[in-house]
């Protein structure tokens, strides 16, 4: 893995300079340079190894993502006993499928139904169930989503293309460092004959955050 030597190259900085340059009375160094300097200092001091960081980044770029969560959801759809365990102790039931947290935080699973739509946010920063969804999309980290979904969830969901009937209760859950949420979307009507691997493909990341439904491919626009 010698790639990391260019990892901090500032070639992406060709755009406009950061607006906060000069905020502290001196030119702000490029974040890429600073990240590289920080990493190399920590390596010099023996606190981390480049290989360990490489392995972790690679895992998040290639292995840990929404597919893990989709497998959890599909299993819950086909196996009522698993679903019951998942809703009772999400962390353990998810670990049973081989997906474990990095920070020892709890994962609570929220079941959506015909009259309940659970939606997840982290109002303070970006807490997110990494082991099952990977890292959050940029909109999840945006100030607009984090503030607005609490104040006007139906409006925000409509912007995601999710129209809800008036009798559907919207529940917004604020994640913390200790408790992360995974939404169990409703199994789409008409998916009765699909097996577990096929069902996995119906489960999108957004449906597990609660801003979309799981749908059959032909129902997607």
């Amino acid at each position: 893995m010698s790639d990391d030597h260019n990892a901090g190259h500032p070639d992406h900085d060709a755009g406009p300079p950061p607006h906060d340059a000069g905020h502290h009375g001196k030119p702000e160094p490029y974040p890429a340079l600073r990240a590289r300097a920080l990493e190399s200092l920590l390596v010099d001091k023996g606190l981390i190894s480049t290989d360990a960081v490489d392995a972790l980044v690679q895992a998040y770029e290639q292995d840990i993502g929404p597919l893990n969560g989709a497998k959890v959801v599909a299993r819950a759809w086909v196996d009522p006993a698993y679903k019951a365990r998942l809703l009772e102790d999400g962390t353990q039931a998810i670990a049973d499928l081989g997906f474990e947290g990095l920070e020892g935080s709890e994962i609570v699973v929220l079941e959506n139904g015909p009259t309940v739509q659970n939606v997840v946010v982290c109002t303070l920063c970006s807490c997110y169930p990494w082991p099952v969804l990977g890292l959050p999309p940029s909109w999840y980290k945006s100030p607009a989503y984090r503030s607005r979904v609490v104040i006007e969830p139906r409006v925000v969901l409509r912007e995601f293309g999710l129209e809800l009937d008036d009798d559907v209760e919207v529940r917004v859950w604020d994640s913390t460092a200790d408790v992360r949420y995974l939404v169990l979307p409703e199994r789409p009507a008409g998916s009765d004959r699909l097996d577990e691997p096929a069902l996995t493909e119906l489960v999108t990341r957004d449906s597990m955050i609660g801003v979309a439904r799981a749908t059959l491919p032909e129902a997607r626009s």
Partner: protein
């Protein structure tokens, strides 16, 4: 080179698509991945707790939101990581500044 590889990966569809895929790359620039990886590696190795990092991340985000500065999530992440590394005595702010300056002048 890396960019080409990324485009190739981004275009993969269906079964070939990576699990991270939902139409979005995990990191927009390589340094974001490094900053992420360094923080999580330090937590995994018990150098500091996740809470130590997370409270600083929240503070950094709050600060830019209050001042209306550019949001740039991973810049906030990096700032939080710097803070926790300095506060825990892993590095000094001065040596980080010096090394950053050295990289800036040598490329």
């Amino acid at each position: 080179m890396n960019r080409d590889a990324d485009l190739g990966i981004a275009e993969m569809q269906g079964a070939a698509a990576l699990p991270r895929d939902n139409g979005e790359l995990v990191f927009e620039a390589p340094w974001e991945g490094r900053a992420f990886g360094v923080a999580v590696t330090l937590v995994q190795q018990g150098v500091f707790d996740w809470h130590d990092f997370q409270i600083r991340l929240v503070a950094q985000i709050e600060r830019v939101e209050n001042t209306g500065g550019p949001y740039a999530y991973y810049e906030r992440w990096l700032a939080a990581l710097e803070r926790v590394a300095v506060d825990k005595g892993l590095i000094t702010a001065r040596e980080l500044d010096e090394r950053t300056d050295r990289y800036a002048s040598t490329g």
